[in-house]
């Protein structure tokens, strides 16, 4: 950024690169499909070659040569350090908190980072029926911490989710402890506009970073609640040449 030519990049690329950076010092990451998988695979190719990718279909330590289209692609099992049955994945690996970071997406997200992937509208008479919980509730409950990767929009970032599929910070400070959830919960929400982090006191999601070229106003407009800005709102480092190159190779593979 300081001097030199800035390579052009898309908002999605910024988001994915930033997600990958969050895995710099991570041992093991539980990977959902889609943007989370892209971010985690990018991390293994750039900042953290030893990163252990765990997928819910059973692959532990997968090293996919290209991006898998499903969480149980053959390449995941074939390149894994080991394969576990699905019950084992959840009982022996997720539940005891053995996995440091869970990488999740979301259809709806509220100000306490609670996630809805189940239903828009009333459960019995849904406006939109979404796929449902999958592995997310227990990943969100038990992984050491959770990073959410989701594009920011008023439709996705809502005052209150219609259904809590996976608990973020519940109704605020102390909620996770009261619920007996042992992981720290969401510590970062990485979007195409910036980064939100729970306020250390209230656990309300607060904008801490804007990606280069994005304004706070844009971020606030893309949020369905009155988004607070951190006192020391910062600008994300733009993707480096290396990061962009690795990401584009990954997406093209």
């Amino acid at each position: 950024m300081a001097g030199g030519a800035v390579t052009a990049y898309e908002a999605d690329e910024m988001m994915t690169v930033e997600a990958a950076r969050r895995l710099r010092d991570t041992t093991a990451c539980f990977v959902g499909i889609g943007l989370p998988s892209t971010g985690a695979n990018l991390a293994r190719r750039t900042h953290n070659p030893d990163l252990v990718l765990v997928y819910e279909a059973g692959a532990i330590g997968a090293k996919p040569p290209s991006l898998p289209l499903s969480i149980g692609d053959g390449m995941l099992g074939e390149t894994a350090d080991t394969i576990a049955s699905v019950p084992e994945i959840f009982n022996y690996w997720v539940q005891p908190g053995r996995i440091e970071i869970g990488f999740l997406g979301a259809a709806q997200l509220d100000r306490y980072a609670n996630i809805n992937t189940t239903v828009v509208g009333d459960y019995a008479n849904p406006k939109v029926r979404l796929p449902g919980a999958g592995g997310a509730p227990e990943i969100a409950a038990s992984c050491g911490e959770v990073v959410i990767i989701v594009r920011q929009s008023p439709r996705a970032f809502v005052e209150q989710v219609d259904f809590i599929t996976s608990v973020g910070h519940g109704d605020g400070a102390g909620a996770r402890e009261r619920l007996g959830l042992r992981g720290k919960g969401p510590t970062k929400v990485i979007t195409d506009l910036g980064i939100l982090e729970p306020d250390p006191e209230t656990r309300e999601l607060t904008l801490t970073h804007l990606h280069p070229g994005v304004t706070a106003e844009q971020a606030r407009e893309a949020t369905g609640w009155d988004l607070k800005l951190a006192d020391d709102l910062q600008t994300t480092e733009p993707p480096t040449e290396e990061e962009l190159k690795a990401l584009r190779e990954l997406l093209a593979a």
């Binding site: 289209l69 074939e78 539940q95 019995a124 449902g132 809590i164």
Partner: protein, 264 residues
């Protein structure tokens, strides 16, 4: 007690073992999905089934669209990497399909309880989520040693468990390998089981991460090459991602779906 799995055509196995109103699980987590067996259920016009599956994907979209299901017990219903299951979504949005919804961990533990001959399983899960408000098969349980509150889920009461495997020998010993999900539990947890296989061989040999279901715990083995398409069978064929995308078009439009059904 049976000593060997019976080897028969798939149509016979479905006709003999699956009854209207049964609770039936077709399992396979991305890998080895028993699609051919599901389509045979449709052809034989099975009705009022309670269908069980962690990840109802296009085979369940087909079964639901064809009117075979009264109820669905599941944890994630989508077309992986593509989007929605439109027949499933339409049925739920129209209130035509009863659903019982869990998380993957909950479903996996329900299969484990069935395979273990236990009425329930204990786990950490669901706390703080909206699922217990809508799903009656989630209850809290207290640890008799520590007093800690945990979650209990009941065993699945499966009449028929259906899976696809890479192969079986002539005695009906079944072998599958790679990512094998909850398939062992599906067979061991069901009263009756059907396993479709890519091929029947003289002798099984070692394979990495292999699950062997011995001949005496499997009811029927049916040779159905390609029986997991468009999903994949490691060592036989890859996932047909184009077919998954094409399904989106067919399923989205009721008329197109009906034409597909007609042609099945």
């Amino acid at each position: 007690m049976r000593t060997h799995a019976e080897i028969t055509p798939l149509a016979d196995a479905v006709a003999d073992l699956v009854r209207d109103g049964d609770t039936v699980a077709l399992e396979g987590f991305t890998h080895l999905i028993p699609v051919a067996a599901g389509q045979e259920l449709i052809r034989q016009r099975k009705r009022d089934l309670t269908l069980v599956r962690m990840t109802p994907d296009i085979v369940y979209d087909q079964l639901i669209g064809a009117g075979c299901a009264r109820k669905l017990i599941f944890s994630w219903g989508g077309n992986p990497g593509v989007g929605s299951l439109h027949r499933f979504r339409a049925a739920v949005q129209a209130g035509e399909l009863e659903i019982e919804e869990h998380s993957h961990a909950g479903m996996a533990n329900r299969y484990v309880a069935s395979a273990s001959g236990l009425p329930f399983a204990v786990m950490r899960g669901y706390n703080g989520t909206s699922l217990p408000e809508h799903t009656s098969t989630i209850k809290s349980i207290t640890c008799p040693f520590t007093g800690e509150q945990l979650t209990a889920v009941p065993a699945l009461d499966l009449d028929v468990g259906i899976i696809h495997a890479q192969r079986a020998d002539r005695d009906g010993n079944v072998q599958l390998w790679g990512q094998t999900g909850v398939q062992k539990e599906t067979v061991l947890g069901a009263k009756r089981s059907i396993v479709t296989v890519e091929e029947i061989v003289d002798e099984l040999d070692d394979k990495p991460y292999s699950v062997v279901l011995p001949r005496w715990v499997v009811t029927r083995v049916c040779e159905v090459p390609g029986g997991a398409k468009p999903s994949y069978a490691q060592g036989y064929y890859d996932r047909d991602n184009v077919a998954y995308k094409a399904w989106d078009e067919i399923s989205r439009d009721k008329a197109q779906f009906d034409a597909w059904l007609e042609a099945l």
